[in-house]
Each structure stands twice: as C-alpha cells, then as structure tokens.
C-alpha cells in the first residue's frame, strides 16, 4: 500500500522557512516524497525539521501564496449531523481553524452529481483557487474542469482520475472494519452476525470481508481460551443484506430488523449513510435483547448510546491540512493519497508512524477501555485491539496476510473464500489491486456476492 514510495519520505518541514512560522504550524510538519520534490528544483531554500535545529538544504520551486487562498468544497449531501458529508465538513472546519486567516473556505452542499460542473464554475467565479469535490460521481466533471482551468487546483475524493492540476485522496477503512470485527467476535452471544450493505461493489465487499476476518480473529481467541468449542465455530454465520442504495434509512432499518429477526444476529455492521442500523440495535436493547452496532464515517453514538460499540471514522481534516500545506507553501502537486490507519504525514519521531485518517474510537466517547468493558467487551479483546492498532499503524501487520490465517486456522491454509478455496496463500499479502477489485466473500458469509 504505497509503502515503498513512503519509505523515502522526507523528515521535516518543506519550505519550513517559507510558511512554517507564518502558519503557526508549530510542531507541525509537511513531508513529501523526495523524488517529487526534486522534479521541481529551481531555487534553494532551507528546511527545518519539526522545529529541531537540523537544517537541510533542499531546492524547490516555491511561490508561497500571496494573501488568502480561497478553498471551495462541494458536498453531495447536506452537512447534517452525521455521515459522509458531515465528516468532510468537519474536516473543512478543522483546516479553517488550523490555517486561520491564511485561507478562506466556502462550501456548497447537496449538489447532485449532474450539477457539479456548474457548482465548480460558481466557486471559481467566487474566487476559489483550490476546490475539493467529495463524491465519486463528481470524478469526470472535476476532470473536465481541471482541463478547462489549468490555474485552479482540484482534489477529488475517492476517484482514480488525475491531471496536472487535479489530485485524488481517500481514507480507506478496511483496517478499522477489521478491528470492529474483532470486537464483534469477542462480544457476540449468538455467533450470528449481520451486515447491511449498500451496493455490491469492491469497496463494500472489501469492508464486509475485513469485518468478517476480524470476527474470526475475535472468535479464535475465545476458542483458544476455551470459551467456544470447535462445534461452536461451525455454527458461526455472517449474513449480508443488500439495500441497493447509499441512503435509505427506512430500508436500512428494515434490513437490520430482518437480520435480527430472521437469523438472530446480535452484532450489526453497515455501509449506509445514516444511523438507522444503530438505532435498530438500540431498539432491541431497549427491549432487553443485546444487539450491537457501530458509527459510520462520523460519530453516531447519540443515536444508540447503549448499542454502540466502536465505529469506522475518518478524520478528513488531517488530509485537508496535508494537501493545503502544499498549496500554502506554493508547491502544489498532483498526488494520489490513500490513507489507511496511521498513514499520512510522517512525524520526526519515527518516520514509519503516521497520523492517519481512519480511526475507530472518537475521543468524545470517553475512555475506550472503560466504556467497552461497561458494555461487556472482555479485557483481552481490548488489549488485542490496542496492540493490533499499533502494529497496523506501524505497518508491521495487515489483516490480509495469508500466513497469519494459515497459522491460526490450519485447516484454512490461508484466507479462504465461501467455498473454502484458498485465495491468499501463506506468505502472500493482499495487494492494493486485489483489495480494490475484490468480488468474493471470505469464509463464514452465507449469501453469495450478487453478480451483475
């Protein structure tokens, strides 16, 4: 996952003398792949590493922004109080705070995909120099606009098309789904799990699979501890219900109720842009039935305080900060940013450690250990999650690793699909391409992946 290109990350702050102080970016940093920096060598400047006295001489073409940069954001939904667009808007508010009077942010919400072209023109007309378009469906119109306006910078979230003045960025959640799965495996009493899914596309299939692998690790530890028998493991079922919609709260709620009513599932994960599934779990909790669920993209805990375990959350603010620092330093470049847990702007303390955009526990939920134990998550599972988090952040370990599963479940012999075929052999780790085009379910999921 881009490890090689990051291996030669610069430590420190590029253009530290140019913008660092001015931004009050104190203790902050911006790092960039060295090879990219050398592409634009013309002028010598100094780089201060995280405020430390080490100065490195580097050459960059830096034309720091004169005055305020106007930054535009285009959202597909309303900024609301949860979900995808809410999280992006929280990111916008964050960069506005971080960069203060260096930037001015504006946004347009609820822009249908067909109308993004005119929204872009409108923002340019208002003087926006950097524009973030935050929906997959905005990809082509954004590219068109980038070709038409070479002096404006575009950043498209979740797409794959780039241009000289158009970059892409995305925060990938499969690792957080995995850790959410571990907690599910540790807490489930019925050993039946349910997933309410939007569309059968690789992103969603990858997230379901990662969650299910997490469940298996949680269950494995219970088996090892003697809490579950081998027969119990054979009873495990994971059921998936498809909505064929990204947003339909009544439908998501009904799918979630069905998972509980039909299969007795007691942990529900989902890909749908509302807290409906969590609310259904809360509904069952109110009736005395222990059913658990999560937050998705932003904190939804208020919708189900009793049923809420953890979540898959994204801190877009850190990504926006990273991207905009380049613009403020006057050295923007087209990049393809895919941030996992712990990816991102690398710190001076350890170049492999990062900030990351994806996380599973929001600080406002209180102390993770206390809160999860209150809900009945065993302490060993919390320890496991904490240590796994560290390994994942340090890039020492990834769940999509054949050897790990072959060792844990010898009769699997790697990561196996629903039919039991080994898909990831020992010694192999699923690469970006495999995960981004995945169309099969891992073992334990009952329903097949819908085709066509």
């Amino acid at each position: 996952m881009g490890e090689v290109s990051r291996r030669d990350f610069l430590k420190g702050l590029i253009g530290g003398l140019i913008v660092g102080a001015a931004l009050g970016f104190g203790g902050g940093y911006v790092s960039a792949p060295a090879k990219e920096v050398t592409k634009t060598v013309t002028e010598t400047t100094t780089v201060t590493a995280g405020g430390a006295p080490t100065t490195v001489t580097k050459t960059v073409t830096a034309t720091p922004a004169a005055g305020k940069i106007k930054v535009g954001f285009i959202y597909v939904g309303p900024i609301g109080d949860y979900g995808w667009t809410y999280a992006h808007n929280a990111g916008r508010e964050y960069v506005q705070k971080v960069f203060g009077d260096k930037i001015e942010t504006v946004y347009v919400e609820s822009v249908p995909e067909a109308q993004v072209g005119s929204a872009i023109e409108n923002l340019i007309d208002q003087g926006a120099k950097v524009i973030f378009t935050t929906s997959f469906g905005y990809m082509d119109p954004t590219l068109e606009a980038a070709k038409k306006h070479p002096d404006i910078w575009f950043w498209h979230c979740s797409g794959y098309k780039r241009w000289e003045n158009m970059g892409t960025y995305f925060a990938e959640l499969y690792q957080t789904y995995y850790l959410n799965g571990v907690v599910a495996g540790a807490i489930s009493k019925t050993l039946k799990f349910g997933y309410v899914a939007a569309y059968p596309i690789p992103e969603v299939v990858r997230h379901i699979n990662s969650w299910v692998l997490g469940i298996w690790e949680g269950l494995y530890h219970r088996y090892k501890r003697g809490e579950l028998s081998a027969d119990d493991l054979k009873k495990v079922e994971i059921h998936v219900k498809w909505l064929y919609s990204w947003y339909d709260p009544p439908a998501a709620a009904d799918a979630a109720r069905t998972l509980v009513n039909q299969f007795n599932a007691d942990v529900l994960a989902f890909t749908e842009d509302s807290p409906a599934v969590l609310q259904v779990a809360e509904e069952f909790q109110a009736q005395g039935k222990k059913v658990w669920s999560y937050s998705h993209y932003s904190s939804m805990i208020d919708y189900g305080p009793n049923a809420h375990l953890m979540g898959q959350l994204v801190d877009w603010g850190k990504m926006y900060e990273y991207i905009l620092a380049y613009h403020l330093a006057g050295i923007p470049r087209s990049m393809d940013l895919w941030w996992l847990m712990g990816d991102g702007a690398d710190t001076i303390e350890g170049w492999r450690k990062g900030i990351g955009a994806a996380y599973y526990w929001a600080p406002e939920w209180g102390d993770m250990r206390t809160e999860l134990m209150k809900k009945g998550v065993p302490e060993w599972a919390i320890d496991l999650i904490v240590s796994k988090t560290d390994l994942i952040k340090q890039k020492y370990w990834d769940p999509w690793n054949g050897s790990f599963w072959a060792e844990m479940f010898p009769d699997w012999g790697g990561i196996i699909d629903q039919e039991g075929n080994v898909r990831i052999k020992p010694g192999e780790v699923a690469d970006h391409d495999l995960l981004w085009s995945i169309d099969w379910f891992v073992y334990g999921i009952v329903e097949p992946v819908p085709k066509g």
Binding site: G77, P78, G80, D81, Y82, G83, P200, H239, V240, K241, W242, Y244, Y247, D248, P249, P250, A251, A252, A253, D254, A255, R257, T258, L259, N261, Q262, F263, S274, P275, A276, Q279, E282, E283, A286, Q287, D302, Y303, P305, V446, E447, P448, V449, P450, K451, G452
Partner: protein, 319 residues
Amino acid sequence: MNLDLINLFLIQALTIGTVYLIATLGEVLSERAGVVNLGLEGLMEIGATVAIIVALITENAWLGILAAFVAAAALATVHAFATVSLKLNQFASGLAIYIFGVGIGVTFRGYARDVILGPQALLKIPKIKAAFTSIKIPGLSNIPVIGSLFSLDVMAYFGLFLGILLWFIFYRTRTGLNIRSVGENPAAADAAGINVFRLRYITTIIGGGLAGVAGGYLIIKIATQIAGETVILGRGWIAIALVIFAFWDPLRAIIGAYFFGALEALFYWLQGYFGGATVVMLKAVPHISAIIILTIMSIEALRKRIGAPEALGKPYSRE
C-alpha cells in the same frame, strides 16, 4: 421454516404496510370526492418533520402524530383551495405541494435539529418510540401466522380500523354516498343539494392530514431521524399507486398496502435464501407496478372499467 420466523416476518410486513395503508386511505378519501392529490410524498415529509420535532419537544409521540396531521392538513388546505376554489389543474397543484412539502420538510428538520432541538434531543428517541411498542395480545399472539395480527402497535390497529371505518362510511352512510356522488357526478350532486365544495374541502384536508400521520408514523416507528434529508424516498408515490391498485375501495386498500409492505420486507428476508441478485427484482416490483397502474389510470376506457370516480381530477364549477 420456523413458525416464529413467519410471525416476525409478518409483523415487519404489516408495520411497513401500515405506513402505506394510512397514506393510501387518505388518498382514497380525497379521490372518492374527485380530488387527486399528487402531493402525498410532500405531505408525508412535512408530517414526518412535524411529528419528530413535536414528539421530541413534548416527549410524546401521540402529540407528534397529532401535530403531523394538523400540519399536513394545513398544506392540503392549500391544495383544496387551489383545486376546488380556484379550479386549477389538480395534477399541477399536487406536484407543487409535493415539491414544497419535501423541500420545507427536509429543510425545517435540519434547522430544527440545529436550532430548536440540539443534540440532547436524540437521547429522548427511545422514550417516544416506546409509544409504538407492539401490543402482544396474550394467547392470540402466539398462534402461527395469524398471531402476527395480534402483535402490532396501536397505529397499526388504527390503520386497520380506519380502513374498515372508511368502508363503512362510503357504503353504509349518507355522508359516504354524498362523497361518492360528488366524485362521480358533481353537477348532479349539486343539484341534489349536496355542498360539493364543502365536501371536497373536507375530504382533501382530512386525506392530506392522514398522509401526514403516515409520515409521522414512518419517522417515529421505522426510522427515527432528525437529519435534513428526506426519509420518505418515494413511498408517497407508491401510496398513490396503491389507491388505484385498490380500485378506490378501503378494504382492498388494506390488502394492497399489506401486500406492498410484505414485498418490501420480502426483499430483505428472501436475500437469506436466494442471494441478493435474485431478489433485487423484488425491490423494483412496487415501482414497476406503480408505473403499470398509472398507465392503466391514464387510459379512459380502462379507468371506467376499474371503477375510477367519474369526475376524478376534474374541477367542478357551476355552469
């Protein structure tokens, strides 16, 4: 298949069906008197917004439902004024109500969340939902299949009662006869001394109010949201199609609404047995039948044969 599962499935189907039922009955009432209201979707959205806000403020779901009725009825009054008094095109006015209702409903819900309610309001959701907890009638609720009919919440029973009541009014009372004659031949009814305008006003307003109740029930019972995003998502249009499916008969509306509720629930239940792709067609069924039904509706000869009110959609003016 486990009989308990059948009961659970039916409860789910009947619950979704209740949303359709109440909205459909409202539309049956107003169409019987000759007024088509295409604004159902918007009225349901307004109802949903007002219901959730009032319920959260007062911590009382019933006040929420009542307020939803009043708000949607108020908007339906506009439709009645436009179509009955001003004699404007019913379809155009209905579409305006639809666009206005969804827009205002969604916007105001977002505003209320930020300004009126605040995040604390979310904590009251379980409390208001409790009003719609299903009532299990001891003994009867344990009978397989039929038992589901005895494990519903108050609103579901209200929907059933309303269907039977409307049927009774239409076919067993003088008022019902008057309503039907206004829908069939307003001129004759007028000549017979029936106040066409007053009856059309009343049926349109009450019918619209019922759509609000359906929206309120949907948002409190099925998907409790305070976000500034629509929650109705086309269900109002399905209710309009259901009116025709029911041939403007309240008792058939009960069957039709429960059937569509079952289709919606089946979409999720069947995935467990046949996989997603096989049943994805099911999801399209309500919409496809809506298209077929509306097509039938627009063919004059067919319309007559299935018993559409003769003067449906036509403004009445004294010559």
